[in-house]
């Protein structure tokens, strides 16, 4: 997989993504936004937080808020277990963690392979997806972190 996509790198920018699963759909996030991937651990809940904010965890001394990606994307929230993972990513100056069901692989994709996401209906869950990439028989959805977290519309996480 990795090899065959690499070959197309000729005529433009090559992007690397990590693909992950949420609500039985495949999504992906740009690799250079991701700091690390950790196993799920119980969080400390935050009062008055929106439903998609699960709480905070201790990442080597830093207090990192954890977002339930499923609920943020409109899927029903699920009860996380040790088999689920947290993707720690950079969001501008902030660092946040995204709870996902699982991560699968690294995709190397040429820009031309990425299609703009078909606009079906403008709603919050839809703007989070900025494009789609077809892989064999399936399709993976590219997440735009800023759009998803509503960066620019302060405050980002808690309202």
């Amino acid at each position: 997989m990795y090899d065959e996509t690499k070959a197309v790198a000729d005529d433009g920018a090559v992007f690397e993504f990590i693909s992950l699963y949420v609500g039985e759909q495949s999504f992906c996030i740009e690799l250079n936004r991701i700091r690390e991937i950790r196993r799920w651990e119980p969080v400390t809940m935050l009062p008055h937080s929106p439903p998609f904010v699960l709480g905070v965890v201790n990442l080597r001394g830093a207090v990192i808020p954890i977002i339930d990606l499923a609920s943020k994307l409109g899927f029903p929230p699920f009860e996380p277990t040790k088999r689920n993972v947290i993707i720690i990513c950079n969001l501008g100056e902030q660092v946040i963690g995204l709870l996902v069901e699982s991560v699968s692989e690294i995709l190397t994709v040429d820009l031309s392979e990425m299609q703009e996401a078909p606009r079906i209906k403008e709603d919050a869950n839809n703007t989070a997806i900025c494009g789609v990439i077809s892989i064999k028989d399936d399709m993976t959805r590219v997440i735009d972190l800023e759009a998803m977290m509503g960066i620019g519309e302060e405050p980002a996480l808690n309202e």
Binding site: V63, P65, P155, N158
Partner: protein, 728 residues
């Protein structure tokens, strides 16, 4: 070396010099100073003037010059630093520091203050506007010149100066170039420069290039005064050895003999003056040789020569106490890392305990060592941030001078414990509250002289500002010997402003606490000093936000004392670890005044959902911390909870109900705002021994969730800082 960095160094030096200046002036004012003190003050002003000139700060230099002239007269006993002169000297010190600050920030200065002070100084000037005769030579570090005492500016035949100049290692380290100084001298007249290469080691290739091996003997023919010449070196005077001697028309040093050396001359190409023909140049093919040690051929010629100028190592030895200027951010990063270390240590301890190893196991012993080391490192790192409160107190002395000048009251300001060290941030953030309280103390506390005399007191009031360490905290007290709090009036005002009910039966302490109520301001008329509508409540907010508390004690006719208790540092806090709805949380101990296990009969309901607690005949609202933080209400009856009595700004008192108290410990504060944002009722987070995050509760935020409290109907508290003029 950019102009900026030199400028920075200049202002850093000015800071040190300002400190020396203020210290000296205070000693003179106390009468504890001697002639050396006057000299020190003079030197400070002189150095500021000298360096200021290099940056073209004309206002600063002009003022410093007048100031210096008066100080010189004091030094030579022409003037007495008595009660007439001393206040003006103190004020001049203030103005000079203001001028430096204005130059640094590139802001406008209050020209009126400068002018009045200048005028006041001028009255003491021996001969106004006349350049004082330089009877003294300001030579802070003359070395190697046999006849130091010689300074005769009286010589009429004087045609210039003979300057010997030896940069120390530090001179090069901060990026100075002797060439610039020599060029600056060249601007004053014609130059003849001879470099002394005798100190250059044989093994030139392996020697330390930052060491100053060179010194210069400079003949300067100039009509300029000795002071102007010295001003050239003013900026680097700590970094080199300079002596300036008047020189006769024939080039001989007046009454000083310096053996001529076999030296190689360095032509002064930067000054635009022709090199001296007498000294043949051996290396003029090379461009910028004065900045680096010259090459081999010169060395052999110079070797057998003289040794009078020989000093660089002593420059370092002269420094009484070496200090290091470090970027604050680096220190903070270190503090963070150490905080992690402490957390990590407790995580490991917990793990080992969970593993079931016995107390006598070797690893426990090692762990104990680890713990001690970690604590030691933490204390050491915290000490880096610790600063004496002295500068803060000096600023307050200034406020006292300003306020007494404005009110015409006579006040003696006493400080105790200036050396007490507290966190740097505390020093900075205490400035506004203390200013406000000192103003209050003079404006409202100290009576007019006549009133004082009638009351059988000294006409001069006393305000004492003290600081000390007490059981892991810093205690700062502001004590005045004024009239004390007028409690009847305080209550009357509180009633008038609707803060308390007219028939309220208040204890003395409760009346005193009314001072801190929002919207309370006792000044009958708004004076431009303290009655600015932002009352003591803002002071209290400021202190509480630093994790401290404030208290008052006062007795009529005897005066009042305000005591501020503050934590030693802001990075670590004493907290009470509590459980609420299965979550562990931390409540700052500073805000908890009491913990209570309630009895059922003390809990009453106010309507359907507002419980109140009866304590010593008083009813205070109960806040369920769990519900306040959005957890669903639970069925644990209130009497099975633990109540924490907190005093907050919005409500005088309230009882916060938690499920249980598990521990009391120091916690490292972690901000939530960077990655998440602000949460009502939560001030920050911390990491517990098991690596889990616990949220730190903000009792004020929690208390504001209660709406039915008697004091919460007050006008909204102005959120303005102390300095902002406000609404009343």
């Amino acid at each position: 070396m950019s102009g900026n960095s030199i400028r920075d160094i200049f202002f850093q030096e000015c800071e040190d010099l300002s400190d020396a200046l203020t210290d000296g002036l205070n000693e003179m004012a106390d009468g504890t100073g001697d002639s050396e003190t006057v000299n020190a003050v003079f030197r400070a002003v002189h150095s500021i003037k000298g360096s200021g000139g290099a940056f073209g700060l004309e206002d600063l230099v002009g003022f410093a010059h007048k100031f210096e002239t008066v100080l010189d007269a004091v030094r030579s006993h022409e003037l007495q630093a008595d009660d007439n002169l001393m206040p003006i000297l103190l004020r001049s010190g203030d103005v000079l520091i203001d001028l430096i600050e204005a130059a640094r920030m590139e802001t406008e200065i209050n020209q009126e203050a400068v002018d009045t002070t200048l005028a006041a100084l001028a009255e003491f000037l021996p001969d106004e506007d006349q350049e004082p005769e330089e009877e003294f030579s300001f030579q802070p570090m003359v070395l190697a010149i046999p006849d130091v005492a010689v300074s005769g500016a009286e010589e009429d035949t004087q045609a210039g100066f003979r300057i010997s100049f030896t940069p120390a290692r530090a001179f090069y380290e901060v990026g100075n170039d002797p060439l610039h100084l020599i060029a600056a001298l060249g601007d004053l007249g014609s130059l003849e420069v001879i470099a002394d290469l005798s100190q250059i080691p044989d093994d030139i290739d392996n020697s330390d290039w930052e060491n100053g091996y060179l010194s210069w003997d400079i003949k300067l023919e100039t009509p300029a005064t000795d002071e102007t010449v010295k001003a050239v070196f003013g900026f680097v005077e700590d970094l080199c050895t300079v002596s300036v001697h008047p020189m006769g028309t024939n080039g001989e040093v007046l009454r000083t003999t310096t053996p001529e050396a076999a030296v190689a001359a360095i032509p002064e190409n930067g000054a635009g003056e022709p090199p001296s023909p007498e000294a043949p140049s051996k290396q003029d093919s090379e461009g910028d040789k004065s900045s680096g040690p010259p090459e081999d051929p010169a060395k052999t010629a110079a070797k057998p020569a003289k040794g009078p100028v020989k000093s660089p190592p002593s420059a370092a030895a002269r420094e009484a106490k070496a200090t290091l200027r470090v970027d604050l951010e680096r220190v903070d990063r270190l503090i963070n890392a150490v905080g992690e270390l402490i957390i990590n240590q407790s995580v490991i301890a917990q793990r080992i305990e969970d593993a079931g190893l016995g107390k006598s196991d070797d690893i426990q012993v090692d762990l104990e060592d680890y713990k001690h080391l970690a604590r030691e490192i933490q204390e050491g790192v915290m000490a880096i941030r610790a600063q004496p409160v002295k500068p803060l107190f000096q600023r307050m002395a200034r406020i006292v001078r300003e306020v007494t000048a404005a009110t015409g009251k006579k006040v003696q300001f006493v400080t105790v414990g200036e050396g007490t060290e507290v966190d740097k941030t505390l020093v900075e953030r205490l400035s506004d509250p203390l200013t406000h309280m000192i103003r209050n103390a003079i404006d409202h506390g100290i009576e007019e002289s006549e009133t004082r005399v009638r009351a059988g007191k000294d006409p001069e009031g006393v305000i004492q500002l003290s600081a000390e360490h007490r059981s892991g905290n810093v205690l700062i007290e502001i004590m005045d010997d004024g009239a004390g709090l007028n409690r009847d009036r305080i209550k009357a005002i509180a009633v008038e402003k609707g803060i308390v009910a007219e028939d309220a039966d208040l204890s003395v302490t409760e009346i005193d606490q009314l001072l801190f109520a929002p919207g309370f301001s006792t000044a009958k008329e708004v004076t431009n000093l303290s009655g600015r509508g932002v009352g003591m409540d803002v002071v209290k907010t400021a202190i509480t936000s630093l994790g401290g508390r404030i208290g008052i004690s006062s007795s009529p006719g005897q005066g009042s004392t305000f005591s501020i208790t503050l934590p030693l540092t802001l990075a670590v806090m004493d907290g009470m670890v509590v459980t609420v709805a299965d979550q562990t949380m931390v409540i700052p101990i500073a805000s908890v005044s009491e913990t209570i296990r309630p009895r059922k009969e003390d809990i009453f309901m106010l309507g359907v959902e507002h419980p109140v607690l009866q304590i010593r005949g008083e009813y205070i609202p109960i806040v369920d911390l769990g519900t306040a933080l959005g957890h669903p209400a639970r069925d644990i009856p209130l009497e099975n909870r633990v109540f924490l009595l907190v005093r907050t700004e919005k409500i005088s008192q309230c009882a916060i109900a938690v499920d249980g108290i598990s521990d009391q410990r120091q916690v490292v504060i972690k901000s939530l705002e960077g990655d998440y944002g602000k949460i009502t009722g939560i001030s920050a987070a911390t990491i517990l021994g098991d690596g889990k995050i616990a949220l730190i509760v903000d009792p004020d935020g929690i208390a504001s969730a209660v709406s039915a409290a008697p004091m919460s109907q007050l006008p909204a508290q102005p959120s303005s800082p102390l300095t902002e003029p406000a609404h009343v």
